[in-house]
C-alpha cells in the first residue's frame, strides 16, 4: 500500500513539474515546416453505415498560427474544383473562404458558421483551423495509453480571444514523439467530437498521422481522412493562398 502511495505521489510530483504548455510547444516545434502538401481520401460513414468518398488536395504554407492553407476537392466530378482557403492568425480565429467553380465565385465562411459541418463530413470548419498554443490555456491531467503508446493527457481551454464552439478539449500527446494520438472536443460536459490519429509515420523527420478518424458523438458517424503522398517543405508561392488564386487555379 505504501508503495502504491509512493508511486502515485512520485507521478503526481513529476506531473506537477511538467509544464503542459511546454509539451504543446514542443509538439508544435517538432511539426514546424515551411509547407505541407498531401492528397487525401475522405470517407464518410454515416449512422446507417452509408459510405461516401471524396478526394482532395491539401497545401499549406507558413508555420503554426500564421499559416495559410488551400484545400481543393479533386473527386468526384460533381465537386471537383470546390476549394476552401484558410488563413490562420495567431491572435484570433481564422478567415475562411469557399470557392465554387460552377458559380465562379467565393463566399466567406462566417465565424458563426464555423461550428457547422464541413460539407457533410464530421469535421467542422473550425476543426480545419490550425491551433496555436497562444490561443489556449493548458492543464496537464494525467498520463494515459492510446494504442499502446504512453501519452500526456492535457486539458485545453480556449482563451477569450478565441471564438470556439468547444468549451474545452482533451489532448493526448505521445510522450515518445510528441505526435497527437487523440483529441476530444467538448461543449460543457458533452462530448462533441473525437479525432483519433493513427498510422503515425516519420515523414522527412516529422512524425505525422496518416489516418485521422473523426467521430461525431451526437450523430454517431465517422469521417476517415487518409493522407497520401505527403511532402513537407515543398516550394510554394505565397500568392497561391489568396482568394484570387482560388479562381485562377480552377
Amino acid at each position: 500500500m505504501s508503495r502504491v502511495l509512493t508511486a502515485v505521489f512520485n507521478i503526481s510530483f513529476l506531473l506537477l513539474q511538467i509544464d503542459p504548455r511546454q509539451i504543446l510547444e514542443e509538439s508544435q516545434r517538432r511539426t514546424m515546416t515551411q509547407s505541407q502538401h498531401y492528397e487525401g481520401t475522405l470517407r464518410v460513414i454515416d449512422a446507417k453505415s452509408k459510405i461516401t468518398e471524396k478526394r482532395w488536395q491539401y497545401d499549406r504554407i507558413g508555420s503554426h498560427g500564421s499559416s495559410k492553407a488551400v484545400l481543393r476537392f479533386t473527386a468526384p466530378a460533381e465537386v471537383k474544383g470546390v476549394a476552401l482557403l484558410v488563413l490562420n492568425h495567431p491572435d484570433r480565429s481564422s478567415d475562411q473562404w469557399m470557392w465554387t467553380p460552377a458559380l465562379n465565385r467565393d463566399r466567406r465562411i462566417a465565424l458563426q458558421d464555423r461550428s457547422t459541418r464541413f460539407f457533410g463530413t464530421d469535421f467542422s470548419f473550425e476543426d480545419l483551423e490550425e491551433r496555436d498554443t497562444n490561443q489556449f490555456d493548458f492543464r496537464l491531467l494525467s498520463e494515459e495509453s492510446i494504442d499502446g503508446a504512453s501519452c500526456w493527457k492535457v486539458q485545453s481551454t480556449p482563451r477569450q480571444t478565441k471564438v470556439s464552439q468547444y468549451t474545452h478539449s482533451y489532448l493526448w500527446i505521445r510522450e515518445d514523439n510528441y505526435a497527437f494520438a487523440q483529441i476530444e472536443n467538448y461543449n460543457k460536459d458533452q462530448l462533441v467530437r473525437r479525432a483519433h490519429y493513427s498510422d503515425i509515420r516519420n515523414d522527412q523527420g516529422i512524425w505525422t498521422a496518416h489516418q485521422i478518424d473523426m467521430h461525431d458523438a451526437k450523430r454517431n458517424s465517422h469521417t476517415i481522412l487518409r493522407i497520401e503522398k505527403l511532402q513537407y517543405n515543398v516550394p510554394m508561392k505565397d500568392d497561391a493562398f489568396t482568394r484570387e488564386a482560388l479562381s485562377r487555379e480552377s
Binding site: E78, V79, T100, A102, L103, A110, Q112, D113, T116, R117
Partner: protein
C-alpha cells in the same frame, strides 16, 4: 313564452314566406360580413404564416426596401457584437412551368450557416438525405423542395424540375426533401430552398441580398440588438422583427378590406330596413290583436317585449344561417382576393385553408341579432303604444302616420343642415364623416315623404298608361306609405351604394385611361414576367444597349422600381431616364411646372411624386424627402406632383443616375421601347424577341397587351362593384316581394271585389306588376339622387383614407342606365309570385276577408 306560442307562432305560420324573406335580409348582411372578414383574416394569416415559418427563429431582419443591398453589408452586420447569427437571404416567387402548380417560393440561403435559424425538417431527419451537402453547394441547379410539393408532382430526389428564371427556363435537380411541417408549410407547401449564390444568379440579383436574418447573441435582448444594428448600419436600413414585413401587405389589404367592410355594413343596413318593414307591417296587421291583448290586461312592456323577442328569434336564426353561408363563401373569396393582390401588388401568398375566428363569427351573429332588434325597436315601441280603443277602430292609423311624417321631415331638415355645416368644415376628418352620416340619414328620413310625393306624382302617369290597373296600383301605394317606404328606403340605400362604388370605379377607370394615354405610350415593353407588378426579377443594365441596336428601335427607356418604407408607409421609388421620358411623356402636373420638374429631376436636384404620395404622406411642393439608401440619406426636394397610378400608396420619381449613385445598382425592371416612325411595330418586336430570348427570359408586351393587363387588373379589383349590383337586385326582389305580399293580403277584399264585378285576371296581375314597377321606379329615382351624394362622399373617403387617390367626380350615367332595366326587371320578377297569388285565391274567401 305563452304569448309567443299562442300569438307569434300562428302568425309566423300564416305568413311563412314573409318571415323567410325577412330573415333572408339578415342572412345576406351577416353572410357578407362574415365572408369578407374571414377571407381577409385568412389571407393575412396565410401571408403571416409564410413569413413566420420562413423566419424560423429569426428575431430581426435587416432590409433596404425591395432594392436589396450589396453583399458587403453582411460583414458589417456579423461584426456587430450583439449579433449571434446573421444569415443572408434572397427570396422570390417564380413560375414552375408545371401545369396547375402556378408559382413556387424560392428561398435562397447560405446553407453553411442557416441551420442555426431554420429547421428544414428534412425527411428522415438526416442531412445526408440532401444526397451530398457538398454536391448541393457545388452544383447551382440543386434544390430542396417540400415532400408535399414532391408528392403532388410525382417528384423524388434526383428528379428534374423546370423553373422560369431570368436566364430563361432552367432545369433544376431535387437534391433534398423537407417534411411538410414548420417552415415548409409556408406558401402552401410550394417552397424550395437553394444555395443563396445560385439563387442570386437565377434571379438576376448580381451581388445583392434581399435581407439578412439575425438572431441576437445569447443574453442580449432583441431591443438591444436592434439598436446596435441601427447604429451600425444607419438610416438606410430597416431593422425589424419578421412580423413587420406584413406592413406593406397589410397596407395593400387594408384598402381592400376597408371597402369590403363598408359593403358588409351596407348589406346589414339594408337587411335592417327589410326587417323594419316586415315588423312595421306586422304591427299594422296585428293592431286588433294588440288592442285585444291590451284590453285584457297585457302591459305595454309585455307587448313590446313580445315583438322584440320575435325579432331576436328571427335575428338569431338569420345570423347563424348567414354565418354558415359566409364561411362557405369565404375560401372562394379569399382565393380570389389573393390572386388580385398578387397581380396588383406583386405580393404572393397562398390561401389553402380558412382562418375562422370564433370571435368574429360571434360578432357577426351579435351584429345580426342587434340589427334585427334595432330594426324592430320602433315597430315594437309603436305596438306598445297602441291604444286599445283606437286599435279596434278603422282609419285612425293614417292620422297617426301623418304626425310621424312631420316629425321625420323636421329630423331630416336638421340632419341636412348639420351635414351642410360639416361640409363647410370638411377638412376635419371627424366632421367629414359626421356630415356623411348626417346626409345619408337625412335622405333616409325623407324617404317616406318623398315616396308618398312621387307616388302621388306618378299617379296621373300611371292612370294615363293603364286607367284601371294604373290607378289601383298608384292608390295602393299612396294609401299605404308605411308599407312602401321601408322597401323604397332599402332599395334607395342599396342603389346609393351601387352608385357610390360604380361612380368610384367609373372615375378610376377614366383616370387610369388618361394616365395610360399619357404615361404608358411606348410601342412595347420588355419585362421579365407576365405579372408586371413582379419586381423580384431584374435585367442587367446592358439590356438597354442591346435593344437599342435592334433595327427599327428608336428609343429605349429603362426603369427600375421597388418599394421602400418611407415614414412607415410602403411607397414605390421609380428610377427613370428623366430626359428621355420627358421627350415622350407629356402630362399636366397637379402642382409645379412640367419643364421645371423634368429639368430639376434630370439634374438630380429634385424628385416628383404622385398625388397619392402627397396626400398619404402629407407633403407638398418644395418639401424635402429624405430617402434611406445604402449610401446614406438621400435628400431631395419635391419639384412636382403628378397623377400617377404606378402604386396606390404613392410613388416617387427620381433620375436613374441618382438611383445608380445612391443604391449602387444598375439593374432594370422594365424597358420601354419606342419604334422608329414608319417601321412596322410587330416586325421590330419580333426582332427584339429574337435578339434577347437566347440570353434572358423575358416577355415583350405590346402597348395594347399592357393596357389590357391593367384593365383586367382593374376589372378584378372592381369585381366587387358587380357584387354590389347583385346585392341591390336581391334587395329589390326581397323587399318588393315582401311589400307586395303584404299588399295583396291587405287588398284581398278589394281584389276579390274586382274579380266579382268582372275584372280580368290579367288586369289584377297588371295591378300588382305596376305597383312593383312603380316601387322600382321610385327606388331608382331616390337611389340615384342619394347615390349622387354618396358618390361625392365616397370619393372624399378614398382620397382621405383609402389610398389618397384624387379622382374627378364623374356621375356614372351609363352605369345607372344599365341599372334601370336590371332593377325594373327584378321588380317585375318579384311581382310574378304575388301577382299569381292575387288571382288564384278563392273569390268567396276574398269577399269574406276583413
Amino acid at each position: 313564452m305563452m304569448l309567443l306560442c299562442l300569438l307569434s307562432w300562428p302568425y309566423l305560420r300564416r305568413h311563412l314566406l314573409r318571415w323567410i324573406l325577412t330573415v333572408a335580409g339578415i342572412v345576406l348582411g351577416v353572410g357578407v360580413f362574415v365572408a369578407m372578414h374571414t377571407a381577409n383574416r385568412s389571407i393575412f394569416r396565410a401571408f403571416d404564416t409564410t413569413i413566420g415559418r420562413i423566419a424560423g427563429t429569426t428575431q430581426l431582419q435587416v432590409s433596404a426596401g425591395e432594392f436589396g443591398f450589396d453583399e458587403s453589408i453582411l460583414e458589417r452586420v456579423q461584426s456587430v457584437p450583439e449579433v449571434g447569427v446573421a444569415v443572408p437571404v434572397v427570396e422570390a416567387t417564380v413560375d414552375t412551368n408545371i401545369p396547375g402548380q402556378g408559382s413556387i417560393l424560392i428561398l435562397g440561403i447560405d446553407m453553411t450557416g442557416d441551420r442555426s435559424l431554420r429547421d428544414y425538417e428534412l425527411k428522415d431527419a438526416d442531412e445526408a438525405i440532401i444526397d451530398d451537402p457538398l454536391v448541393f453547394l457545388a452544383q447551382p441547379d440543386s434544390l430542396m423542395v417540400t415532400t408535399e410539393f414532391a408528392e403532388r408532382n410525382q417528384l423524388a430526389v434526383n428528379s428534374k424540375v423546370q423553373l422560369a428564371t431570368i436566364e430563361g427556363n432552367r432545369e433544376f435537380t431535387i437534391r433534398g426533401l423537407m417534411n411538410s411541417a414548420g417552415m415548409t408549410r409556408a406558401f402552401g407547401g410550394n417552397l424550395a430552398v437553394m444555395d443563396i449564390y445560385a439563387a442570386q444568379q437565377i434571379l438576376g440579383r448580381g451581388r445583392r441580398f434581399d435581407r439578412i436574418d439575425v438572431r441576437a447573441k445569447e443574453g442580449i435582448t432583441i431591443d438591444d440588438c436592434q439598436a446596435a444594428l441601427k447604429a451600425a448600419l444607419g438610416p438606410a436600413f430597416d431593422v425589424d422583427p419578421p412580423s413587420a414585413r406584413g406592413r406593406h401587405f397589410e397596407a395593400l389589404l387594408q384598402s381592400y378590406s376597408t371597402a369590403m367592410m363598408i359593403s358588409s355594413l351596407f348589406a346589414l343596413m339594408v337587411g335592417m330596413f327589410i326587417i323594419y318593414n316586415s315588423f312595421a307591417i306586422a304591427v299594422t296587421h296585428r293592431r286588433s290583436e294588440i288592442g285585444v291583448l291590451r284590453a285584457l290586461g297585457a302591459t305595454r312592456h309585455q307587448i313590446q317585449t313580445l315583438f322584440l323577442v320575435e325579432s331576436i328569434i328571427a335575428g338569431t336564426f338569420g345570423s347563424i344561417l348567414g354565418a354558415s353561408v359566409g364561411i362557405t363563401a369565404a375560401l372562394v373569396i379569399a382565393q380570389w382576393i389573393s390572386s388580385v393582390l398578387e397581380t396588383a401588388g406583386g405580393v404572393a401568398q397562398r390561401v389553402s385553408e380558412l382562418e375562422v375566428d370564433p370571435t368574429l363569427i360571434a360578432a357577426g351573429v351579435i351584429a345580426g341579432i342587434t340589427t334585427s332588434v334595432v330594426a324592430a325597436w320602433i315597430p315594437a315601441r309603436n305596438a306598445a303604444r297602441v291604444d286599445p280603443v283606437q286599435a279596434l277602430q278603422k282609419g285612425k292609423y293614417q292620422v297617426l302616420s301623418m304626425g310621424e311624417n312631420r316629425r321625420r321631415r323636421w329630423m331630416a331638415l336638421t340632419a341636412f343642415l348639420m351635414a351642410s355645416v360639416c361640409l363647410l368644415l370638411s377638412d376635419s376628418k371627424p366632421l367629414f364623416y359626421t356630415g356623411y352620416v348626417a346626409m345619408m340619414g337625412a335622405g333616409l328620413l325623407l324617404a317616406p315623404a318623398l315616396t308618398l310625393f312621387l307616388s302621388k306624382g306618378l299617379r296621373p302617369v300611371l292612370r294615363r298608361l293603364l286607367p284601371a290597373e294604373g290607378t289601383l296600383a298608384a292608390d295602393s301605394l299612396v294609401e299605404a306609405p308605411r308599407r312602401t317606404s321601408a322597401t323604397v328606403s332599402a332599395l334607395m340605400l342599396s342603389l346609393a351604394m351601387v352608385v357610390g362604388f360604380g361612380g368610384f370605379a367609373h372615375s378610376f377607370y377614366s383616370s387610369i385611361q388618361e394616365w395610360m394615354d399619357n404615361a404608358l405610350n411606348p410601342d412595347f415593353f420588355v419585362a421579365p414576367s407576365e405579372n408586371l407588378a413582379t419586381r423580384s426579377l431584374t435585367f442587367p443594365a446592358e439590356i438597354s444597349s442591346v435593344i437599342e441596336r435592334v433595327d427599327g428601335v428608336d428609343q429605349v427607356q429603362v426603369v427600375r422600381d421597388a418599394r421602400v418604407t418611407y415614414h412607415e408607409v410602403p411607397v414605390m421609388v421609380i428610377a427613370i431616364e428623366t430626359e428621355k421620358v420627358a421627350s415622350t411623356v407629356h402630362r399636366t402636373p397637379v402642382a409645379g411646372s412640367l419643364e421645371e420638374m423634368n429639368r430639376l429631376t434630370a439634374e438630380g436636384k429634385g424628385l416628383f411624386v404622385s398625388e397619392s404620395f402627397a396626400t398619404n404622406l402629407k407633403t407638398k411642393m418644395a418639401d424635402v424627402v429624405e430617402l434611406p439608401t445604402p449610401s446614406g440619406l438621400l435628400k431631395l426636394p419635391i419639384v412636382g406632383i403628378i397623377r400617377d397610378y404606378s402604386d396606390l400608396r404613392g410613388s416617387l420619381f427620381i433620375d436613374r443616375s441618382v438611383y445608380r449613385d445612391w443604391w449602387k445598382d444598375d439593374t432594370v425592371n422594365i424597358a420601354r421601347v419606342y419604334v422608329r416612325k414608319g417601321q412596322n411595330v410587330e416586325a421590330v418586336r419580333q426582332r427584339v424577341i429574337q435578339t434577347l430570348s437566347s440570353r434572358y427570359r423575358l416577355l415583350v408586351l405590346t402597348n395594347r397587351e399592357v393596357r389590357d393587363w391593367i384593365m383586367k387588373l382593374l376589372d378584378q379589383w372592381f369585381g366587387m362593384t358587380y357584387n354590389q349590383i347583385v346585392v341591390a337586385v336581391l334587395v329589390a326582389v326581397l323587399g318588393i316581394v315582401n311589400t307586395l305580399t303584404v299588399s295583396i293580403t291587405d287588398r284581398k277584399r278589394e281584389l276579390g271585389v274586382m274579380q266579382a264585378v268582372g275584372g280580368l285576371r290579367s288586369q289584377i296581375r297588371w295591378t300588382v306588376w305596376i305597383e312593383a314597377l312603380t316601387i322600382g321606379v321610385i327606388g331608382l329615382i331616390l337611389g340615384t339622387c342619394l347615390g349622387a351624394v354618396n358618390l361625392y362622399y365616397t370619393l372624399g373617403m378614398i382620397k382621405r383614407d383609402l389610398g389618397g387617390i384624387g379622382l374627378d367626380y364623374i356621375f356614372p350615367s351609363a352605369f345607372m342606365m344599365l341599372m334601370v332595366p336590371i332593377i325594373l326587371g327584378a321588380a317585375w320578377i318579384a311581382a310574378l309570385g304575388p301577382g299569381e297569388a292575387a288571382v288564384r285565391g278563392s273569390l268567396v274567401e276574398a269577399l269574406e276577408y276583413e
